[in-house]
Subunit: 366 residues, 2 copies
Amino acid sequence: MSLSRREFSRLGAMGMAAQMLPLGMAQGSERKVGYCVIGLGRIADHFMRGTKLTTGSQITGLVSGHRDKAERIAAEYGVPKSSIYSYEDMDRMRENKAIDAVYVALPNSMHAEYTIRSAKAGKHVLCEKPMSTTVSEAESMIAACKAAKVKLMIAYRLHYEPTTLRAIKLVQEGTVGQVQSIVSANGFNEKAGEWRLNKALSGGGPLLDVGIYCLNAMRYITREEPVKFAAYVSTIDHDGRFDSVEENTSWTMQFPSGILASCTTTYGAQMPGFYRVYGSKGWLQVDEFGYEGLRLRANYAVADRKRVELDEPNTERDPMQFKRQADHMTECILRDQTPKTPGEEGLRDMQYMQAIYKSASSTSAS
Amino acid sequence: MSLSRREFSRLGAMGMAAQMLPLGMAQGSERKVGYCVIGLGRIADHFMRGTKLTTGSQITGLVSGHRDKAERIAAEYGVPKSSIYSYEDMDRMRENKAIDAVYVALPNSMHAEYTIRSAKAGKHVLCEKPMSTTVSEAESMIAACKAAKVKLMIAYRLHYEPTTLRAIKLVQEGTVGQVQSIVSANGFNEKAGEWRLNKALSGGGPLLDVGIYCLNAMRYITREEPVKFAAYVSTIDHDGRFDSVEENTSWTMQFPSGILASCTTTYGAQMPGFYRVYGSKGWLQVDEFGYEGLRLRANYAVADRKRVELDEPNTERDPMQFKRQADHMTECILRDQTPKTPGEEGLRDMQYMQAIYKSASSTSAS
């Protein structure tokens, strides 16, 4: 694309010039934003592959307890060996100018510590969800990033995902009419021995890891914050997997407008993620909260007896969601903007999950 | 089909002879069981058309406040004019030997009175759901039928419907493994002026009329009785429709095994009925609680990595569900058996709906 200087100025006046430049060049520099990945598990691999698809983000550092694994990955991504850190010495990254930000991809209970240490090292933080295991940890993370004047973004990748954005837009435009209620589920049958089943690492059961997708979806679809929570937790399979966390959680939330949301999550069943929004004119459903394969369906009235039926599968493949997420973080860093999913977004989910657990503990006692 | 006497005796020994005879002939008589329909609204029409498909049931009486309408229907079904009653004089049906049973198809608040009057007139009772508007009414109905030694069956037509029976069997056989949770919804956008929106006639909001399908389905799928209830009600549309009943109800139930069920119902949105059962090996879903168009889908593991996918639409058309329901009631009368869905089944749903409303009123106050 080539633009005359005059055209470019006009776009600039419309606030569009920056958007039309490749990321990483927005401020006249060709330098990419460098990310140090903390924790080299499965999701870190998705993120790193995602950055390969970007023009503005690159992997410039690694933190791992496994030096061999880290060196293999460093070679693949062109990370110098000197930018591989252990958990003990990662604070040294403060001196590493090639690292602008970190991606915290550790078990939940370690999010707070590594976010705060990274902030103190002067690095922006992209932290996986759930943001933390407690409300107070989340608050400390926000405070630390604020004090260090670094960005804090929670990795709610679906906020940057086209099918999700389309669903939000359709609902907000009133396509299905006045929303009355929403149902949502997300879960899977977890294997024994996984870190998620260890409360010391995960902070809780399926609610924190997969139920959070239902919770967050109810909020981005309604654009309201829930005010009432009623929940039950249960464990049915006594096979050793659920000694420290519960197997199932189902809860109902009420929003200020009166919209009711019913959600369920599990580590004990095949439960493909979905939400279905019920409105006065029709319904809208999104299937899948995973890395690919989202599908939007809807059926709504547009005029007397005339109905529209939508069926829009998203054919984008993994790691496109991670690419989009990295693009947003990079853009926020380069333009000094607040991410769409800042720490405060993660904090709210932590507060609501705390309310859900609180309700469950009172209903279980009754 | 023709059977030799010997074959017939063998079937008889297997308890099957009676089933193979056309109903109404099971006890050597060709007389059909005669039903008097009380209330000639929409659902009565489905029932009456359903009896036309049976060999053992027929319409032999009508109770209506509209003599003209009743005479027109009487002519169609061969009911003598002398067997048309008003609400005031229907107790006279005691003397009418052609009437064995009544079908109570009135607004909910009238179910108790007309069930009890019919029992006192010596007639068996098939009563629409919800059985009544309160628990105590339901108890009175059961007591009255017991005292009069007549059958009381609640018209839970899906208990006699093939797709529902198949779903129950698949779940009970462990096809989807250990069930963890179920989600269900059923509702519609009710028009202003309908009797359902008048609490004096309906006894309550969408829970009683359409939410009851979710509630009852959770019970026939789990074969358990719920022990805990957490609910919210809300009204969003202040357009005059919801002055006496609420617009939305969402609730979560816990069963003794730990299974959690999330249900939602509305009179303010397009909400096609469904339930989805989540088990350790897979999921099973039934769409539609209506008079036709049910569809069973499932996806479950049968061996390492091998999965089975079911998609079984039920092509039976209305009024087949009503035919099957009439067949069952007729069979119970002829063989002096207790219906599969007796008054006690209806009473339980009334108790649970009372618990749901009680929870909603406490959560709404908080």
